[in-house]
């Protein structure tokens, strides 16, 4: 199950500057664990208490995984996974 994972600028320090990495897994959680096994520390920036960190968006192809099962969202061979920083804020 090979997928391409696109890494945002802020997390490229974990991937030796690479914009994308290959990974395997059949769910988003498995893909993140697989990336973390070779780029230690990146998981802590993505996942908190078994849920996705609110500061990041993760997509499988065009789908925000928050709407399709979160970390349990399924990933198929050839899918592309995109990680983006969530852009948000407010007056407080």
């Amino acid at each position: 199950m090979a997928v391409n994972v696109s890494i945002p600028t802020i997390l490229r320090s974990y991937t030796g500057g690479q914009k994308s990495v290959e990974a395997s897994g059949s769910t988003v959680a498995e893909v993140i664990n697989d990336i973390d096994s070779r780029n230690g520390g990146i998981k802590d920036r993505l996942v908190k208490e078994d849920g996705l960190h609110r500061f990041v968006n993760v997509y499988v192809n065009d789908e925000d995984v928050r709407f399709v099962g979160g970390l349990e969202a399924s990933v198929a061979d050839g899918d592309s996974v995109t990680i983006l920083p969530a852009v948000a804020g407010g007056m407080r």
Binding site: A86, G89, M91
Partner: protein, 151 residues
Amino acid sequence: MLVIQRDLVDRMVAHARRDHPDEACGVIAGPEGSDRPERMVEMVNAERSPTFYRFDSGEQLRVWREMDAADEEPVVIYHSHTATEAYPSRTDISYASEPYAHYVLVSTRDPNSYELRSYRIVDGVVTEEPVDVVESYMFAHTGGDDVPDGE
């Protein structure tokens, strides 16, 4: 320092005024490494709120892909504060995660004048920077074009 063309400043302020009292937000893309904001994209505030903003995640994916395909990056990320000053809030700081972006805040609390300020926000540290509004980048002494080609 943020060097930015006046027409882009005017458009950010117009966007903020139009969405007032809700917060407005958007991005200005520029060529990778140029530090020059060129292409403004007004984003939907998915929260439609006077106290909070969030890029719609689907729209953000499309816009970030467009930038990637055009070798652009987000040079400016802007949003408005509609009742407070143009200074990053704790929430703004906690979310800021584009290390090369200028975070621009526009305050529309005064109906007769606006306040526009720019910041770098890296690892939770806010640094305000001067804003140089220029009529055209052609004559402004900044950006990648001014760096002599190294051999």
